[in-house]
Symmetry: C2
Subunit: 391 residues, 2 copies
């Protein structure tokens, strides 16, 4: 087990109708003038925005609103949010939505106190040192941003995707009401399930040894997704399935299951270029990349893939041919993804084989390598994209 | 899944030699005058106390010390600690030890700001409203107090044991260095393992439904203990085993695995009277009580005990006679405890069958009941003690 620091100070408030406690929680965490940040019209139409606004008013908290966050949230709206917060004297940001809205809120909270352009922080030209506190009302179980210190923003100009991680980005509170996810279409639900499983696998496939505790915790969450995922896709108003997926999604990414492990994150890296270039859903891009990555890297440590195959997918161990067990586990994952309606090839997300050199170029790997379960160079990432591009 | 609030703001710093960061962490969390609270001479002799003190000095932090915390920590030393902290203007308490030292530190931190006698807080006569911040350097993986909001104190007069739980009691930071547990004797190691497993089972055996995520997380930690526990008992300097046990012990009790579940805690309740009366180790008392409790209650929900038997103990499901599977799981747990050197009967811990009426009396159940996986009345708790008292 590696040495680690783990700090997850977010207060999670989970259950039906908990969005009505937003006012109480903002007050508790020191907010008096709030920016409500959200995405499309659904938060308005469903009445969610009104309920949250009413709960703020009931506590005497004033607010301004900024909607329009898109999937793969853009730098342009972040700048608009920073300007609005400064003009209005905002001291707390309340994100109502999924990962994109929360990530955009984090970027605004970090840019607020930064003198230059906030994109510097994402380019690591300058360190993040101060943020406005944020809270969230989660509407999609997927990104885990409600409990994590990460934020991923896409630069409109050139469609560059960059991630910034800091404990300063961890929300003060997150409200998780599984009922708010009832109206998600099956495809978005499945994208969320895929994203959650990817967050687990990125941690599971490690070069660290003696990590039984977090191995088992990773497997616990994967088994939960395997049981509950298909239920939620088929029956969107199954509270138990929605609730288990929602909590698993948060625990999968607040990093408790990654503590003491070297992590991979190359599938996320390779995917970011896909959703950056084609604007596909992040979960869909991951469904395409992850099995290809697994196929390419499993021979680095066949036994770890056997562990996943037997403990997660219930495949009997073939002691004579362990690699067959390993590969069967990868196929089981691919079949699971197909079963919940996810794409598993370039074609299905509108990606093109001939763009691979562009993807590799945008990844910025150059003559260098990316660390991980297997260290990848330019040829390796090209080969993984090619596996994903097979017809 | 039940509604819940989960808040675990403790910063965990895990790895070899991390006790040398105590000064940095106390400073980060606002301490300038520290009470170092500890147990016996081992913290001194091992040099641990000196290393921590040096790390405080290096950051310009002054301190006073108070040792002498015993297992099942007493109210008398807590009062001494409160008086010392007031006299010396202490603003941060650093616990060096295991659950007893940390629980005693919490009691001092809560009593400091309370005008009356601190025992009022534990009798729930007055609410806990303010505490001095505390940090911990953990030396035993067992109680989970390093990440929990709980504190259990024993009143010298009458040997009454009472528990107080509050988010205010959660440590600001906890330093976890698995190497500090190398010198624990096998018996104490096994007591810790038992305590950790009890913390998991108390949450696992629930009347809540649709809790797959936390079921799986509980099972993950139990599987970790089953693998790593016997290794640490046999080879006390196995870093991997010590590290996995230490982190599992913390995760088992910061309540992430209990979120959204009704919990039981009757085994702990019944045990507290045992260690209160006979001053046996808490873990030893639990090893005696838990299997008896399981035997007495499993028929309330045979399927849940089958889940434990199959998923945790690897027992094949007997679909014709599920109760046989359930009972086999309980026997497997008892065998595991015996295997790591734990007592499993009254006699082995010096408890006497004829004291059962006294134990029941001290439990204070009267004509009432205790809620849980099975609601227990006076006759039920008597029957459980009697099962534990079998020769």
């Amino acid at each position: 087990m590696e040495q680690f620091q783990f700090y997850s100070p977010t207060e999670f408030v989970f259950g039906k109708e908990k969005e009505n406690e937003a006012g109480r929680l903002v007050k508790k965490w020191g907010g008096s003038k709030v920016l409500i940040h959200y995405g499309g019209e659904s938060a308005k139409k469903s009445g969610l925005l009104d309920r949250v606004a009413a709960s703020l008013k009931a506590k005497g908290i004033s607010y301004v609103t900024l909607g329009g966050v898109k999937p793969n949230p853009r730098d342009t709206l972040v700048r608009e949010g920073i300007a609005l917060c400064r003009a209005e004297g905002v001291d707390f940001i309340l994100a109502i939505g999924g990962g994109s809205v929360i990530d955009s809120s984090k970027a605004i909270s970090g840019g607020f106190y930064y003198d230059g352009d906030f994109w510097d922080l994402y380019e690591k030209k300058s360190p993040l040192t101060k943020t406005i506190p944020i809270g969230t009302v989660l509407t999609i179980a997927a990104a885990g941003s409600e409990g994590s210190g990460s934020s991923v923003i896409t630069k409109e100009d050139g469609l560059l995707k960059r991630c910034l991680t800091s404990d300063l980005y961890r929300p003060k509170f997150s409200i998780l009401n599984p009922e708010l996810t009832y109206t998600l279409p099956a495809y978005q639900t499945a994208c969320g399930i895929t994203d959650i499983m990817a967050h687990i696998f990125e941690r599971y496939f490690t070069t660290s040894t003696d990590v039984e505790c977090t191995d088992r915790l990773c497997e616990a969450l994967l088994l939960t997704m395997i049981k509950e995922g298909p239920v939620a896709v088929k029956n969107p108003t199954d509270y138990g399935a929605r609730a288990n997926i929602m909590w698993a999604g948060t625990v999968a990414h607040n990093d408790i299951i990654g503590s003491g492990r070297k992590q991979d994150w190359n599938s996320h890296g390779l995917e970011h270029e896909l959703s950056g270039l084609y604007d596909c859903a992040h979960g869909a891009g991951l469904a395409v990349i992850m099995p290809a990555w697994m196929e390419y890297v499993y021979s680095e440590n066949v036994m770890r893939f056997c562990e996943a195959a037997t403990r997660v997918w219930g495949i009997p161990m073939d002691f004579e041919h362990p690699e067959k067990t390993a590969v069967a586990g990868i196929h089981a994952f691919k079949d699971f993804l197909t079963g919940i309606g996810m794409p598993v090839s370039f074609k299905e997300i509108g990606a093109r084989k001939e763009d691979i050199p562009v993807l590799v170029e945008k990844l910025g790997i150059g003559d260098g390598t990316r660390a991980g379960f297997k260290t990848l160079n330019r040829d390796d990432v090209t080969a993984i994209y090619e596996l994903a591009a097979r017809e």
